[in-house]
Every structure is written in structure tokens, then in C-alpha cells.
Symmetry: C2
Subunit: 151 residues, 2 copies
């Protein structure tokens, strides 16, 4: 079976950071402002399969992405999760390593006039939340993160 | 404020693996058989604060722990999460880097006559589940993981 992520990675929208071995894009779901997905560029099925160069470069991604989102959006801390459960709903699972990164906020943030509030700060993120934002606001968020990373 | 984890780490029960910079213990909560917490031995507040040696050694921990639990308990895949939300309920938060590791199973497993079943396999773990197992079964699980790592 083909890996849908390997295909997806080649044409990602809303990329905020690309390193040698990883690509980070803004998630469609923005309940937690600046939520991103970080994809391994090589097809790897689990964390144990990452080679040393990929692992070291992941640290680079973590530092730059956290730093950039802190500076640009005011995130207080971050939740990182590598799950890949959905892939195992298939008869022949094709998992591909990716991270869910949720910035968390101890205060309200306004972007282009739109208010973002982390109502669960200090607690687990709420998986039921699903907030879609306009293309215009997405672009502003992407640009802010990129400029935060490059600061 | 003092870090409760720095204190805790010195006297952990049910340690399954200690590396140069990390310590893994079996969690009290065992809905997902072999669930562990992996603590940074040095006080670090977030992933960006880990130094290169700690980050490289984390890869070592991931590979050994996943491999050991696969071999000894039959886990199919793993969910890794670094959250640390609860620390931010305090007025002066003292987060300490630790990972929640949930092995996931596509079949039932029996340990010492006790049945474990991952009813959410292929989906997110259920945070509401809270399964406490007897001291005897815990010891069996710890020993199995240790022998799996040493195989």
C-alpha cells in the first residue's frame, strides 16, 4: 500500500518551517493557535526507525518551532504528541512518523481581529474542539510564525 | 518553588530502564499494558531546553523501550506524548520534562492470568480509563519489560 503522507509532504500548504529531515505545516484545526503537524520527510513507521541524523534534526525543529511560536504568537508552553493511531485502522497499516504540536496559552491572543483563547490551559487539550479559521487569518498566522523563527 | 519531579526521580519504583540522561518507570495507570513515564534526569522545563547529549540519549531510550515492550508484551505500536500541562495550574509553574508512553495492542494479552485488552486500538487512547493492577502483576510486567530490553 502507498503511503499517503509521503505523497502529501511533497505539496504541503502553510509550511512554516522546513529543515533537512522535517517539514512543519500549520494544522487545519486551530483551536490551539499555531497548532502544527511536523512530518518526517523520509518514510519512517515509528520513532525507533528514525536514524541519528533525523533524530538530531528533530531537536533543531523543536527549538526553532517552539521559539518562533513563542515569539510571534505568545505561546506559554507546548504539547507534543506522536500517535499515528489512525493508520492502524487499515488492514495493512502504513504509518508515517509525524508530530502534533499544540502551543498553549495563558492569555487571550488576537490575530487580525480574531480572538483565540486556550480555555483548557493547565489541562489536557480538548480533542473535541475543531476550529477552522479563514484563509486570510491562516496566512497571517503562517507569516507570523515564519518571521518569529527568522527573528 | 521546588521541583517535585527532581525529588521523585531519586526514589522511583518500578524502573524499567535507566540511561545516562533518562529514567523510565511503569506508570501506576495500566489501561494500556506497559504504560511508562520517561523522566529527564536533569531539571529541564521544556523540550527546547534539552541539550544535545540528552536529546541523543532520548533516541537510545525510545529504541530500547519500544523494542523491549514489543518483544516482552507484544505491543503493536506506541503513543508518545510530552505534555506537562498540570504544572501550569500553579501560580509559579515548575514543569519538568517527561514523556507519557502508551504501548498499543491489536490483540488481547494475558499476564499472570490477568487479561489486558486495548479497546481503542486504531484510535486515540481514552484518558478516562484508569486501571490499577496488583503489586504482583506490576512486578511481573516490570520484569518482563526489563528482560525484553536485555534480550
Amino acid at each position: 500500500m502507498e503511503c499517503k503522507y509521503c505523497k502529501l509532504i511533497k505539496n504541503l500548504d502553510d509550511v512554516v518551517l522546513e529543515t533537512k529531515h522535517w517539514k512543519a505545516k500549520l494544522s487545519d484545526e486551530q483551536s490551539y493557535l499555531g497548532r502544527c503537524v511536523v512530518f518526517s520527510k523520509r518514510h519512517t513507521a515509528d520513532l525507533s526507525e528514525l536514524n541519528q541524523a533525523e533524530w538530531e534534526d528533530l531537536r533543531n525543529m523543536v527549538i526553532k518551532l517552539e521559539g518562533g511560536i513563542r515569539v510571534s504568537l505568545g505561546a506559554r508552553m507546548f504539547n507534543w504528541a506522536c500517535l499515528m493511531n489512525n493508520a492502524y485502522q487499515e488492514r495493512s497499516p502504513v504509518p508515517h512518523v509525524h508530530w502534533h504540536v499544540r502551543p498553549r496559552y495563558d492569555k487571550k491572543v488576537k490575530i487580525g481581529g480574531v480572538l483565540f483563547e486556550d480555555r483548557e490551559f493547565g489541562h489536557n487539550y480538548d480533542r473535541r474542539r475543531h476550529r477552522v479559521i479563514s484563509k486570510e487569518i491562516r496566512e497571517v498566522v503562517v507569516k507570523k510564525i515564519i518571521s518569529g523563527i527568522r527573528r
